[in-house]
């Protein structure tokens, strides 16, 4: 029986190649898209899931009221938190503190030098996190002050000899923290592929504490990340409400409340809005899954529509089979077999397509995706194919087999208006999805464009950022002085962190006339060089900048407009602020400028002229002379760092990195939208071709009676154009709401204008019209004599 079905299926294909082609192209391209998105989603959801303790492993967050009515969330905590967690919170089994070294550190052996990233971590780090240790004991690798654990990759690059270099020494230097010491390698770790973290070395947290000024360690200085392993059976909800006031109890002036969030969740749910985990990558995971599913549905609809539209061609077969004794169930089985076969065939094509375009897909998603040949994956793929086949075959199967044998044998398909409504509804649905995707893509692109061209309050063009490393650690000022002498260099300065990551903050500042409410304010806080404001092109609102200032004079501070406004200072210049430590006098106010991404609003900000903890050097160069100037800078850099490659970035490129995930989603959805409209149009093309054939006689009779070709053309194409217009009317309000929702995440966003939506709708309409036009025209132009003679 099955053999017969397959044989009939193949003969049907050869008889009606165009329908087969439309279905094959539609199903295989949508399955390709489903497979790619599946691989992408799989890669996203397994991130950080390899930690054996993932159910109990939490990160400690702080919620701080920002004085603007909502909460800001910070990952950083005071290093005092570690002992507090270990000794005073019984629910915590183990806790670790991590201090991330900003930028690169130099790892040096006698004959090699490598720039690498790493952090300080307290003793239990490798017990909490399951990074496999290839050498060393997880209980003791970080016990000694001067111990270091390095990655397998680092070990291979630094020491070419066989075996693990345990016990060997390394010099590690980092400019920002004034770190320079000899460390002993105590262990080698490996980073699993599905880790969201990537690092080359881990130092002991004891070393970090040793390097700190004791005055800098208090509850208001938040420098480290904290992780804790909760005992099994601790309910996180009740624990979080119990622990909330932990910091406030220790430091009555501190406004921060404590919150434990599951570490394994952080990758997907990485955005906080007003103290609550709110989306992040998970939004895109869900969104893309839904879009891929919809595209598959669009292709299934093509299959349904074409199969039912062409029912008359198969109706005789069904009638005859019923008369000779076929039961309805066996006919349904036959049609489902056909659709499943088609889906499986499409899946094979899709599989080959995926293998072919995976490198390209990896590239636009910025992932290292693999397409492993495993039984479980094959089962999943086969499952998707079968389900696709069943879904697309179900409606035609039941539709075609429901008629009585006698009526179909008469050659007339009893048409009910219900069938037409369903078919039209399906076409409207397809185009609704397509229009929605077109709107989504254009809104995402316009918003990204807006962000990239928005006036940030500083000039990001032609600024080169250089990491302060190695030879620049001690000779930063000299380097900058010499850099300024290069003819193509406009100005040069330095800063703590960088312009896209201004993460340090301070709180509990006091000033005269301070309101109770404003005691809660947290300031973003950065050390900058004397020419920073000029180099970055930031405008002064009042007072003076740090120009010609000698760094490390602890009595001065420059604030931004937002800070001054929130502090309620009428005449800020000259006001003295108590910053827990030195008192500082406000010497200037800068106009607001954006740091971080435009998701966030501008926060109060303080710039202090200090040369400590500097990680980035900034050099402004003349436009048009980039090549020459960079060559000169390279030479200068090599003078200070013999043997080290000159590694630099352009600030505008770094800025684009901030929106990398949006950009990736945008380029992905561009392809998905294109695919959706393509498949929809394929289906429309099939339907039009078919209706044109069906109505040939009608058109002929009408033409004999005097209808012109253009009237016939209008009659044939208007039916489908009306459907697309209906889709427009239904979709645009939905699209408006969705676009508004997405944009509301941004503090700075484009206004929504009606023509964005009309434009998207018209795009779909025009594409659909072109699809319909050719076939309609052919039918309209055909000679009536030909069609009527066939009768």
């Amino acid at each position: 029986m099955l053999k017969n079905h397959i044989r009939l299926f193949l003969r049907n294909i050869s008889r009606d190649k165009s329908t087969f082609f439309i279905n094959l192209v539609g199903l295989s391209s949508s399955l390709t898209c489903v497979l790619l998105v599946f691989l992408w989603v799989k890669d996203e959801v397994v991130k950080d899931q390899f930690h054996a303790n993932k159910e109990q492993l939490y990160q400690v967050f702080r919620h701080v009221p920002n004085g603007q009515g909502s909460l800001n969330t910070y990952q950083s905590n005071s290093s005092l938190m570690l002992t507090t967690l270990q000794q005073e919170v019984p629910e915590v089994e183990q806790a670790v503190a991590v201090f991330r070294i900003n930028g690169n550190a130099m790892l040096q052996t006698e004959d090699k030098k490598l720039a690498s990233t790493g952090f300080f971590a307290s003793e239990d780090y490798f017990k909490l996190f399951s990074f496999p240790l290839l050498a060393g004991d997880m209980n003791t690798v970080l016990r000694d002050v001067n111990s270091v654990v390095i990655s397998k990759e680092m070990a291979e690059n630094l020491f070419e000899s066989e075996g693990f270099p345990v016990g060997k020494s390394l010099i590690i230097k980092n400019g920002e923290d004034g770190l320079e010491d000899v460390f002993t390698i105590n262990g080698i770790f490996e980073i699993p592929k599905n880790s969201s973290q990537d690092f080359d070395f881990v130092l002991s947290y004891k070393k970090f504490l040793q390097n700190r000024d004791i005055n800098d360690i208090h509850w208001g200085s938040n420098s480290s990340s904290m992780y804790a392993l909760l005992k099994t059976g601790v309910g996180i909800e009740s624990f979080n409400s119990k622990i909330e006031d932990l910091i406030k109890k220790k430091d009555s002036e501190n406004q921060a409340s404590v919150f434990f969030g599951l570490y394994a969740d952080n990758y997907l749910k990485n955005r906080f809005v007003n103290g609550k985990k709110s989306g992040g990558r998970i939004t895109y995971v869900i969104l893309l899954s839904i879009v891929a599913l919809f595209i598959l549905i669009i292709a299934c609809i093509n299959f349904m529509n074409l199969s039912t539209a062409k029912a008359t061609k198969r109706i005789k077969e069904i009638g005859v089979k019923k008369v000779v004794g076929a039961e309805k169930s066996s006919l349904i089985f036959q049609f489902l077999t056909e659709s499943v076969l088609l889906a499986c065939f499409s899946m094979i094509v899709a599989y080959a397509m995926v293998a072919l375009i995976l490198p390209w897909f990896s590239n636009i998603t910025g992932k290292q995706l693999e397409f492993p040949f495993s039984i479980s994956l094959i089962l999943v793929i086969a499952g998707i194919a079968v389900v696709t086949g069943l879904i697309s075959g179900s409606y035609p199967a039941f539709y075609l087999t429901k008629f009585k044998a006698i009526s179909v044998l008469k050659g007339k398909l009893p048409t009910s208006s219900g069938d037409h409504v369903i078919r039209k509804g399906l076409v409207i649905f397809q185009f609704s999805i397509s229009i929605l995707l077109i709107v989504a893509v254009s809104i995402i692109y316009m918003q990204l464009d807006f962000i990239q061209s928005k006036n940030l309050g500083y000039n990001k063009d032609n600024i080169i950022t250089i990491e302060r490393q190695d030879g620049l650690v001690n000779n930063m000022e000299t380097f900058l002085e010499e850099a300024r002498m290069i003819p193509g260099v406009v100005n040069a300065s330095y800063m703590q962190g960088d312009m896209t990551n201004f993460s340090n903050s301070s709180s509990n500042h006091r000033w005269p006339g301070q309101s109770e409410e404003s005691k809660k304010f947290t300031f973003r806080h950065a050390h900058v060089g004397p020419d920073f404001i000029e180099t970055m092109g930031i405008e002064m609102k009042e007072g003076r900048s740090y120009i010609n200032e000698v760094p490390n004079n602890n009595s001065k501070i420059i604030l931004n407009e937002t800070a001054v406004e929130l502090m309620g200072l009428e005449n800020p210049i000259g006001t003295v602020i108590d910053m827990r430590g030195p008192n500082r006098e406000i010497i200037g106010v800068v106009k607001d400028f954006n740091i971080q991404s435009l998701y966030d609003e501008i926060t109060p900000m303080a710039l202090v002229c200090r040369s400590e903890w500097i990680s980035t050097l900034l050099v402004k160069i003349k436009a048009g002379e980039e090549k020459k100037t960079i060559a000169a800078l390279t030479q200068l850099f090599e003078k200070f760092n013999p043997g080290l490659p000159f590694d630099f970035d352009f600030l505008d490129a770094q800025y684009e990195q901030l929106y990398l995930s949006e950009q990736r989603v945008a380029s992905l959805s561009k392809y998905l939208a294109g695919l959706a409209i393509l498949i929809s149009c394929l289906g429309l093309f099939g339907l039009v071709t078919f209706t044109a054939q069906l109505r040939k006689k009608e058109v002929s009779i009408r033409k004999v009676l005097g209808q012109t070709t253009s009237q016939a053309f209008m009659m044939l194409s208007s039916e489908f154009v009306k459907l697309v217009m209906a889709a427009m009317v239904i979709t645009l309000p939905i699209a408006y709401l969705m676009a508004n929702d997405w944009l509301s995440d941004f503090a700075y966003r484009i206004p929504l204008r009606i023509w964005y939506f009309l434009g998207a709708g018209c795009t779909a309409l025009i594409i659909a019209m072109f699809t319909v036009a050719g076939q309609s025209l052919m039918a309209a132009k055909s000679s009536p004599a030909n069609a009527l003679r066939q009768e």
Partner: protein, 220 residues
Amino acid sequence: MLLQLKNIFKWVNSGGQRIFLLKDINFEVSEGEFISIMGPSGSGKSTLLNVIGMLDGFDEGEYHFLDESVHSLKEKHRSNLYKEYIGFVFQSYHLLDDLTVKENLEMPLLYKKYSSSERKAKVADMLDRFNIVGKKDLFPAQLSGGQQQLVGIARALISNPKLILADEPTGNLNSKQGEEIMELFKKLNDEGVTIIQVTHSEKNAAYGSRVINLLDGRMI
């Protein structure tokens, strides 16, 4: 007795009016009969044939087929009944264009419980009996009308029905082909198969043993 129709009425409602397709039909058919149903166009010949073949229902009356009361049978039961005992032959043959002669013959067997070897044997037997072994791998479009109807009859006979229902079996054939088909029916009838045919032609009706005349849904 093979079948019996008692006071059969069939109607459709159109514009508030009841239009009768069949009106008070009564007759019996014994095994081995060869009956012709005659009448002008629209007199209800095909409708009657379809009612007998259980492809179509009726609104009033009783229908007994081999001691089963068809009018009170469930759909499933009824289809089992006609599957087993009735074979159909159509004016326009109704062969499946995508299947070869051999596959067309085999198709009815697929829906009954025959093993693959049984099916092969029956198909071979039928090809032999109708002298169309040489045509077994051809598609219907490659055959003449007479040959196609031959295949149609062979298909109707393949599962050994007691009754053959033929709706103007020679309507699409030229006179020579038509005669051959009628000779074949006569021969089958002699072998014991009961045949009911719908025909316009007195000449074809003459092959049968009895004629039922219809006019506007009534027997006359």
